[in-house]
Symmetry: C2
Subunit: 479 residues, 2 copies
């Protein structure tokens, strides 16, 4: 199967990789998707990486319901304004019309803070450091597999704190430590972190922190967000506690989430014209063994050798490797090579009679295409070492790509040019006014992706309007 070239039609390439690698497909209800086993195994790997880190920083998982009474959603004004247009509503159940419609959660701040009002009485009850893995529903007008679907899988953390300082530290720790570490080390995707501009903030947030990654088409992808919500939800839902001095105070809130959209990011950050390139830390199969034979005699000899290799590889490295023998007889080796390339398996091991005569196998790296004979003896450790190298290479390549597509234009004309072609991030001084954001969007389709955490003092005027700058901003076209 030949894929469209990334350089010619990136959206078509994406769609064909999702299909060809058997990751997902559209389902019947508008904007919904089936995540197929190979795609789901990648998501399970991402979940494990995030969940381990969430727990290691003292958070616990719990589960809140899918259904939110419509009246509850309406208590936080900005929040309902942001989400009301996107919600799906249950009006009938058990054969009857409901007295009050139920909204399917688009996110769970409202139902969770309603419960926190019962759970929090004293400063001793704080902090609450909770997270849930669940499905949420937001009606999407332009759905796209993994990136924007009506129903999507995610985790959402919701914490309550005594002080503003503690809540701010929490919101930042999650983004800068938990999420960033998982995405860079496990997904091998370098991210830029910062704050959102007011127009891009989560509805109801005081500050939204975000991480942004750069895809191979030089568009940015928001890979995760963490919100400092101040006392907005505490006030809307009446979450007060007796502080250490015996006074009633409203609690401070954060919420934060990453979703299965990260699978889309993984595809677009590392994929090439031959298909997916999976980081070994997440690959459902880290190595695939393809037996090669012409006769029955060769077949039994090669099959036996493959079985021994699986035993060796399954126990190699600190945790063993995930290995598969592709012994399908209805397909020729070339077909299998192609398929496992599209599916992004980091290492392919070809085992034929001539290899065995030389007491070696042929090892092909998916990242570089390098093809080399390697001795059978000690192959497990060889492959474990190669996999570490591939993980590092993918991250390093993505870092280089990100660097090469980060621009510091000095005029608006130059900014417009780089944002359109080649694309990437343009970092400039900005006056802080939405007018200028709107103008850039109209001219280039780019938006402010993040405001750096420690901006260089903006000694230049706003790149758009020339007025005094108050911030730095990183602009890009985005998913």
């Amino acid at each position: 199967m030949a894929l469209p070239k990334q350089s010619e039609d990136f959206p078509a390439w994406y769609q064909e990789v999702v299909r060809g690698a058997d990751l997902a497909e559209n389902s019947l209800a508008r904007g919904t998707m089936v995540i197929k086993p190979y795609g789901f195994a990648i998501w399970e790997g991402i979940q494990r990486a995030i969940d381990d880190r969430i727990k290691a920083t003292g958070h616990q998982n719990l589960y809140f319901p899918l259904f939110i009474p419509a009246s509850l959603l309406e208590k936080e004004a900005e929040h309902v304004e942001g989400f009301a247009p996107e919600v799906a509503v249950v009006t009938h159940a058990g054969g009857e019309k409901l007295e009050e419609p139920l909204v399917i959660r688009p996110t769970s701040e409202t139902i969770i803070w309603d419960a926190y009002a019962r759970w929090v009485q004293s400063w001793r009850d704080l902090p609450l450091l909770y997270n849930q893995w669940c499905n949420v529903v937001r009606w999407e007008m332009r759905p796209r597999l993994f990136l924007r679907t009506t129903e999507f899988l995610w985790q959402e953390g919701h914490t309550a704190h005594e002080t503003e300082g503690e809540a701010l530290a929490e919101a930042r720790r999650i983004l800068f430590e938990v999420y960033r570490d998982a995405v860079e080390r496990v997904l091998a995707i370098p991210v830029r972190v910062g704050r959102k501009s007011p127009s891009q903030r989560f509805p109801g947030a005081v500050e939204t922190y975000c991480m942004e990654a750069l895809m191979r088409d030089r568009k940015a992808l928001q890979a995760g967000t963490s919100h400092y919500l101040g006392q907005n939800f505490a006030k809307a839902y009446g979450v007060r506690y007796l502080d250490r001095a015996g006074h009633l105070q409203y609690a401070y809130a954060t919420s934060w989430g990453v979703s299965a959209r990260l699978v889309g990011g993984l595809i677009m950050a590392h994929g090439d014209d031959r298909g997916l390139r999976l980081p070994p830390a997440l690959a459902p199969y880290q190595a695939v063994i393809v037996p090669i034979y012409q006769s029955e005699d060769q077949r039994s000899r090669v099959t036996e050798a493959c079985a021994k290799l699986v035993a060796d590889l399954t126990h190699a490295g600190p945790d063993g490797l995930r290995v598969k023998v592709d012994d399908r007889q209805e397909h020729r080796p070339g077909y299998k090579f192609n398929e496992w390339e599209i599916r992004g398996v980091p290492i392919r091991i070809e085992v034929g009679p001539r290899d065995l005569d030389a007491e070696q196998v042929t090892v092909v790296r998916r990242d570089s295409g390098t093809r080399e004979g390697r001795p059978i003896s000690g192959l497990g450790e060889t492959v474990a070492r190669l996999l570490s190298g591939i993980q590092e290479t993918l991250l390093a390549q993505a870092e280089t790509f990100l660097e090469e597509h980060t621009f510091h234009p000095t005029s608006y004309a130059e900014m417009r040019a780089v944002l359109t072609d080649p694309g990437g991030f343009a970092i400039t001084a900005w006056c802080g006014r939405q007018e200028c954001e709107d103008r850039v969007k109209a001219d280039t389709k780019a938006t402010i992706r993040y405001l750096p955490m420690e901006p260089a003092p903006p000694n230049a005027p706003c790149i758009v309007c020339g007025m005094p700058a108050v911030d730095e901003a990183a602009w890009a076209q985005a998913y």
Copy 2:
């Protein structure tokens, strides 16, 4: 907090244990619940036990959408008849009325078999061995925390096979090996397995296999089911494949599930008048250390000793132990003892100055209440050994209880008596007619829980009507 006695008011006892152990609470929408962190950690343990076994038997996880177009549900006649009265329906989304209402999945056979029609062409595509973890919604008239909720968490496996024999073997393997092994070894709950009578079968199934456990109030709890669906769904959704001889055939189906109801089963199978008794394999904390001191001097000495014990216990046994120090200063030791008893922590370790003088600690088993001094040296291994013993004891006690409440009445009068008081399972010959099932239910509230897999040849007449028996049946009152 004093709990109601099990013997006096079992439902009140259950409700208070769920509350006192901080497992769950009702949420706002009718019949929905919040699973709180301690309850969710138990469910995560159950999930891990089931998921590991599902994967070890060659199944893969995937994810199908929450929404099923209403028309799709209607294609399998018995299935829609069974579920239509219970579904919740989305009629509006994105601010508009939907052209076709969307049903929230009550179970996913329909949407999955619709996809299988695209995925299956040839015998080479079979079997499909897939599973998903998700939420489903069934409108419940009499909701009860964990046991019957409008939304509930579960896994549902859906497999497709070439032959009837293979599908039957799959349905049985899941129940008799995967589920039973997890429930007996990890939850320490012994189960009886068998077939459901036709009236209790899953809507659309040819045969339903089930496992039934006995709760402390001598009512049965259905702990998991596995269905052989024949070709019903393949025919309804057009899932045909070219067989090895080149003929088009309908595929054979199974589906199977267990849910977070198992947490309710865990509470009611092992709990006593002091609260939960958790099997160590699932306990979020396997041991809790309670420091005891009167003065500041004592406090620092005891605190230091506790820290050392945690380090020792965290690394004890093959995988380390899950340990918590309860160092809350606002509560006295007695309060803590009571709380951790309600919460069912298998082992409590009391550490006071006198203990330390004797180079020992006081170890209290939750299962038996045994209280003994144990040397600090080697405490990790001591506790690991005790935990194994507690796991075995809980299973053995539940097995004894199950045996003691399994009756073989020889007359209908005797059957009525044992089913009502003390309650438990009555195993009898049965004519196979629903009339007799209905009569028993009217007289005793009991239903047929299972038909044993290898029934003794029924050489007795039906215990209800005296007509020739065709089967054995196990009757009980049930949740």
